[in-house]
């Protein structure tokens, strides 16, 4: 019997939610690391019992936790995230140079091939790499030392590297995204990087189609089509069919194209989910109605999915890493809100059920489909 395990990071701890393949009844375990901000928890696709968690605090800094039993017990891994060489400066909010300072890990991406290999996306923006289960970290500094680095600027949430996508067809190709620098790709395992922002337009920067400076919120890829990417930008939903070399807007009939999350159906690479948010200053759904929008055509035509979701007086946000899909035959879709709800759908979004109502604000949701 298949099982599903949700790994939920919140403002005040991590939670592990488990269910059988029916996804009707859920066991809740947690809070793990109570009182700490858990930006991300993610399991290894090689061994689902290996789970990594980013635990951080404004007081005590960054901790990395590692589990070898699917999140039941944890051991502390390494937390020495040092920038390679002279860190240099990026732009501050007011445009002045500001030294690169490590603050936290936003995203952990375990390797597709090696259980002991994992990547960490950090604020201030940098990509770190570990080959010993998170014990030691080395910066892949070719990214930060890309010539445009001094011009990168933080978004409202900080200058975070929040998205790391490993190409299943090419182990040397990695995509990352930074708020507010944009998307980048390496084709040589992280030694060199190129900005992949052609086609993005952002009114918030002086040169609206500049090579860097775009506030990319999240990127999603279906593993069967690694050259096709879907992006939720600050404003605009975009797609690329050439590995990010160029992008086209596919916001189509969305009621607002601002948002944070974006994900792709496990079995239908042209079926995409977003949660439209009213605006950059009003981080909640339009009209107090929490609606997931689904496109079955790879964008442009979108349908509202509302069954089981609150349709009045709902003013929560859904943050960039807080949506995930399982790979059961009937694809499950899950997302968490800043109001502490985690909603699940076992029918690809047609209907939704709250799995938990009252967690701390949800920062991330990842799902593991277990045999």
């Amino acid at each position: 019997m298949s099982k599903v395990r949700l790994l939920v990071g919140t403002r005040k701890g991590a939670f592990v939610l488990t269910s059988d393949g029916k996804r009707e009844k859920w066991d809740v375990s947690g809070p793990h690391f109570a009182g700490w901000e858990i930006y991300h928890v993610k399991g290894s696709p090689v061994d689902p019992n290996r789970v990594y968690a980013s635990q951080s605090s404004g007081w005590f800094g960054q901790i990395i936790q590692r589990s070898n039993d699917g999140g039941k017990t944890w051991e502390q891994a390494g937390n020495k995230f040092l920038y390679d060489g002279v860190a240099g400066t990026h732009q501050w909010y007011d445009g002045t140079p500001h030294p690169w300072e490590f603050k936290r890990v936003w995203h952990l991406e375990p390797s597709l091939k090696n259980v002991d290999e994992v990547y960490a996306g950090a604020e201030d923006a940098a990509l770190f790499h570990s080959t010993d289960s998170g014990q030691n970290w080395e910066e892949l500094s070719g990214l930060r030392k890309h010539g445009s680095g001094p011009h990168w600027q933080p978004g409202a949430g900080g200058m975070c590297l929040h998205t790391v996508i490993l190409d299943p067809s090419d182990p040397k190709r990695i995509y990352i995204a930074i708020s507010a620098a944009g998307a980048f790709r390496t084709d040589d395992g992280g030694q060199t990087w190129k900005p992949i922002n052609k086609g993005l337009r952002s009114q918030q920067i002086p040169d609206q189609d500049a090579e860097v400076g775009h506030c990319v919120h999240h990127i999603a890829m279906h593993p069967s089509r690694p050259g096709t990417l879907f992006m939720q930008k600050h404003w605009d939903v975009m797609r690329s069919d050439n590995a990010g070399d160029s992008w086209q807007e596919v916001s189509g009939n969305l009621p607002t194209d601002f948002g944070f999350v974006i994900d792709v159906h496990a079995h239908e690479p042209e079926t995409v989910f977003v949660v439209p948010i009213k605006s950059d200053s009003e981080h909640y759904p339009l009209d107090g109605q929490l609606r997931v929008y689904r496109s079955k055509s790879g964008g442009n035509e979108w349908e509202a999915l509302t069954k089981g979701l609150p349709q009045k007086d709902c003013y929560v946000n859904v943050l960039r890493d807080a949506m995930s899909v399982d790979s059961l035959d009937s694809c499950g879709v899950y997302f968490g809100t800043t109001g502490g709800q985690v909603y699940g759908s076992s029918d690809a979004g047609d209907s939704w059920t709250p799995i938990v109502h009252d967690l701390p604000a949800v920062l991330s949701v990842e799902v593991q489909t277990l045999a």
Partner: protein, 98 residues
């Protein structure tokens, strides 16, 4: 014997209850105490002082004998009462956030 009182979250990380006691060679300074603390409890590295710079994390304070020592030089001698174990060195999370 030097006594150090840690905030609850750091006691959890270190797996200790109550005060930590450390053997610290003279001169007893913030730096020498924290060096021994981090050597004895490596899981605390980076949580009180930043890796690399070894600067005190912004939202932590060092108190002892009803004095705020946070802005003292890390190489200044700690009060005699701390050095002889009569009083603990307190590592305190600053009042900030929720």
């Amino acid at each position: 014997m030097i006594r150090v009182e840690l905030p609850a979250h750091l006691r959890t990380l270190a797996g200790v209850k109550g005060e930590v006691t450390l053997e610290v060679a003279e001169p007893v300074t913030l730096r020498s105490v924290l060096d021994v603390l981090e050597a004895s409890y490596p899981m605390l590295q980076g949580t009180i002082r930043d890796h690399g710079t070894l600067k005190r994390r912004s939202f932590l304070r060092f108190f002892a004998c009803e004095e705020d020592l946070s802005h003292e030089s890390p190489d200044a001698l700690l009060p005699e009462a701390v050095a002889n174990g009569k009083e603990p060195l307190l590592v305190i999370g600053a009042i900030a956030g929720g």
